[in-house]
Amino acid sequence: MKRFIPFILFLFSSQISFAQKEIGAYIHHAEIGTLLGTSSQGSKRINFSLQSFHGIQLDPYNQIGFFVGVDTYPDFNLMPIGFGWRNILFPDKKYSFYTSIDLGYGSAWFQKKERENNVETWNEGGWMVSPAIGLRKNSKNGKLGYTCAVGFKKQYANSFVGVPITGTVTPVEGIRPGYESLFEENNIFNSLFMRMGIIF
């Protein structure tokens, strides 16, 4: 029976069967790529994206874990961090499609608040969601894999220019406490991405 299934799969796929990660095994998936989009004014943008997924093999088809990355957008450098799920369609073949969903928060923590002439400028990140379809090539021993993926990434991010209150004042509802005035820009970056990666 144990030999029957690979045989069936072999017949079905006419490929040589490949080893796969054991259930519970640690998976590291590192990816690098570009984010392609159009700004709200209509100009094209190409941005850089880096992501590192750390997860475990849940069952032969599914991997779950968390990811951390770096995405650049116009005026924003964000560090997305969150939860990821990979579903491999044919885990024991040399080439297999897979789908993935990453859900998380893009943090702007490494962009510092700037202050000049009593005007503060800063960025805040926001939620992100990123579904993708990819193709993976497994190595014979199942330890190494190469991937290529395309997908969408929706990233919320806000930028602020504020004049802080000097002196002692009564707070009023409707404005962030501590600010006299605040200019807030809410961005939703919709990007198509292409990424190359390596699984080990």
Binding site: L9, T38, G167, T170
Partner: protein
């Protein structure tokens, strides 16, 4: 035969659906922007609307945003700017109890003289009998005391300013939006400080148009509005009698009495008035280097003044200045000490307490005024504070989060007794 090939989960379908949904906006970014700012707008009111009924005494309620604090026997009277006065039983400073609240629209200041509480109600001055603080009676309304507030005397219309937040929405791009960033509004609010340690007067955060301030000395009530000093005889406590008005110039903001002298803070300087004849105060000097942001405390020889940086504070320095006022006709600056961001201050004998805003609270021994920096006793960095009142039972520290009381019987070691939290903390 049992198949071991697992049905592929529905995840791929979900992913593909998500790809379509999130991909639908064709990868174009969406940008919206809002510009929000604090400002004040004028509200026109009819004084006649407030004269038809007596002030309502309500049961004790939570402090929202305390203004001036006044110590009266075992009671604390705490102004809620523009709203009224809280009465708290402070017989045990470790557990002050809110008794009642006098609802007085437009109220920003108060003073007590022989069981009579004087409180402003926009243009009028109200007199309450508080001999029993649990059963307060309004006994008198003196009309048109702060008549400079009138915008139209014939119709009884006056104007007050209300804090508000305005928001402009747009879906413009950032280049256009940034232009708005330059139109930063300067809050019209003004600051009023008065911190007379010996009498237990406190600081008040004037926000509206009404900037009436008053104080009591020698059976006379001295009230300042924006440009004049108005003198009332209150020898008959229930019935203040207007004597005269003295023009002072614009931007008058604080008044405090000390030994038959009135120290009046304005935008342009500190006026010192001789009130040894209480009904005829006369100007002794104007010290030009002190402006409105500058709380002052005084003893026989010295005035302790704090200057700080802030919106309405012009000098851009944070320091404690010591003035010699032995000759009130010509105050002399003796020494300046650098500070963090000094707000109010309180003087109790040889001990000076300085509220350093968000930086905390400092205490000094000021017996030697030329070496105050060498005689710092405590620096409580975690105790954010804006004003300090050394009371008979406790040191009252007003901070952004509430009103706290400390045992200061050992001057170099403050011991916290209680804290009354406020609903709407101010921002320092």
């Amino acid at each position: 035969m049992k198949t071991t090939v697992q049905p592929i989960t529905k995840l791929p379908l979900l992913v593909i659906a998500l790809l379509i949904i999130t991909g639908m906006p064709a990868c174009q970014d969406q940008t919206t922007s809002t510009y929000t700012y604090r400002t004040q707008y004028p509200v026109y009111l009819q004084m006649s609307n407030f004269r038809t009924s007596q002030a309502v005494i309500e049961s004790g309620k939570e402090l929202e945003n305390p203004g001036k604090i006044y110590i009266y026997n075992d009671f604390l009277l705490i102004n809620e700017p523009q709203k009224g006065i809280h009465i708290l039983d402070n017989s045990n400073p470790s557990n002050p109890i809110s008794i009642n609240f006098i609802n007085i629209p437009g109220n920003v200041d108060l003073a007590v003289n022989s069981d009579m509480l004087y409180a402003d109600n926009y243009l009028d001055l109200l007199v309450f009998d508080i001999s029993n603080p649990r059963n307060i009676q309004q006994v008198k309304r003196v009309e048109d005391v702060f008549e400079s507030m009138y915008t139209d005397r014939s119709t009884g219309t006056f104007m007050t300013l209300k804090d508000t937040v305005l928001t402009m929405d747009s879906d413009v791009n950032s280049d256009w939006g940034m232009g708005w960033g330059n139109i930063f509004w300067n809050r019209g609010g003004m600051f009023a400080m008065s911190s007379d340690a010996s009498r237990g007067g406190g600081e008040s955060y004037g926000q509206g148009g009404s900037m009436a301030r008053f104080t009591l000395m020698s059976a006379h009530l001295y009230a300042v509005d924006e440009h004049s000093l108005r003198v009332f005889n209150v020898e008959n406590e229930e019935n203040p009698a207007f004597i005269k008005g003295i023009h002072l110039g614009w931007g008058i903001e604080t008044i405090f009495p000390f030994q038959n002298k009135l120290f009046i803070g304005s935008n342009t300087g500190m006026h010192i008035y001789d009130a040894s004849n209480p009904s005829e105060p006369t100007q002794m000097s104007v010290y030009q280097h002190v402006t409105a942001c500058d709380p002052v405390v005084v003893n026989e020889t010295y005035a302790f003044v704090t200057l700080r940086t802030g919106v309405n504070c012009r000098f851009g320095v944070d320091e404690l200045q010591i003035l010699n006022i032995e000759d009130p006709y010509s105050p002399k600056l003796l020494k300046s000490y650098p500070m963090e961001n000094p707000h109010g201050l309180g003087l109790a004998g040889d001990y000076l307490y300085v509220a350093e805003g968000k930086h905390g609270l400092k205490s000094f021994n000021v017996a030697d005024v030329m070496n105050i920096d060498k005689n710092q006793l405590e620096y409580l960095r975690s105790l954010k504070s804006v004003d300090i009142i050394p009371g008979p039972k406790s040191l009252i520290v007003i901070g952004p989060d509430g009103v706290c009381q400390f045992d200061y019987s050992t001057p170099n070691k403050l011991v916290q007794l209680s804290c009354i939290n406020v609903k709407n903390p101010i921002i320092v």
